[in-house]
Symmetry: C2
Subunit: 216 residues, 2 copies
Amino acid sequence: MSGFKVGELVVDSGSLILSEGSHSAQLFTVLSGWAFRYKTMEDGRRQILNYMLPGDLLGLQGSVMGEMQHSVEAMSPVVLCVFQRDKLPDLFRNHPDLGYDVTWLASREERMLDENLLSLGRRSALERAAYLIAFLHQRATAIGMVGRKPLMIPITQQHVADTLGLSIVHTNKTLRRLAQKKLLRWHDRACEVLDEGGLMAAAGWEGIGEGTRPLI
Amino acid sequence: MSGFKVGELVVDSGSLILSEGSHSAQLFTVLSGWAFRYKTMEDGRRQILNYMLPGDLLGLQGSVMGEMQHSVEAMSPVVLCVFQRDKLPDLFRNHPDLGYDVTWLASREERMLDENLLSLGRRSALERAAYLIAFLHQRATAIGMVGRKPLMIPITQQHVADTLGLSIVHTNKTLRRLAQKKLLRWHDRACEVLDEGGLMAAAGWEGIGEGTRPLI
DNA sequence: CGTCGGTTTGATCTAGTTCAACCGCCGTGG
DNA sequence: CCACGGCGGTTGAACTAGATCAAACCGACG
């Protein structure tokens, strides 16, 4: 693995890590922090596709298919492990088990997108919001980000709106309803989860259900 | 590759190929026909996630991560090439280039899901419908399914509704609007594309833009 | 000849959008 | 030191895209 790694990269909150349309030569792994993947339309409409947490691979689409078709932006200070994209075929040749792990990660991403798609297509605003927050909380929990201190998800209501496909106004009203039910508490650009089970119930969501995870 | 293949499977239109919650032992490639991937909620709401055409891999999530979290159903007679799922790690070990191709396919699926997510989150009903039909037409074209005879996409309006996250009634009204604009013609459980460019324009969509595709 | 799945149409209703303010906080520049 | 502007969040009122309800049509098929 070490031969494949090029270096580390540290970026601030709000920085653009990868940009739609570019032919970036890098592939990253998140070591710490939060980021999100999104697409935009010419007229400015933005859709957040998924969130990236420590352990996630970032830029695989660009590496394997050429041009990036989405952007990635940091939501907190982020530390990245940088790889050389053109060495990816070598990785598959010389370390087939690592190649398999890359496929595992790609499959997991696909699974998350499936669930997000179900959310956007078939869940109500309240269900969607509950789902999103519970989902992020579960992911953070799974990688040990939530200890004795309650977790603060570093997200703004604009992010939530752009993830759920809702207007910012309705997003606000919906989040307040969840807060009134004591399922979460909203802070300044952060969300604290008070009752993950309650959120899951409100969303009609069973949870992630993920096997053992490879470390890259 | 031959050692990996187990056999062929032929199924009728409407058959369930893979089922949510199962631990299917197989992995498939579509040889001919149309199928779709979907998820359902307990109360019956259904969301179609993507469509499967010849060349697509099917059941990778189940193979790599255990349990299937979506189902797959045939929309036409379908011929499948069947693989043994537990031989997948061997494939990566003994044929790294094929392993890479699997990852390529997974990345491509991710890309399509990204675009669908943008559609559901940020496009209007008319844009979504236009996008979906143009998208299917492009995919079919890319694999040479459309020759001198115009292509008939073997889809019902219920499929379209469950893909776009719309009600069946509104889907019908939206498709009629596209038909009035002479962008498509609706037949009995089939859609004929009259003007792909017009559909793309109506959707605000640039097209797929796909590199060279591996054959598995 | 009845029935069933797919499609069509009109009327009514509502979840979510848009518009328009306003508040509190913080960083900047005079 | 204070005024100003911008960003994130909040709230109410008016509006609309799309949902729901209800009914009918049409061709295939037993």
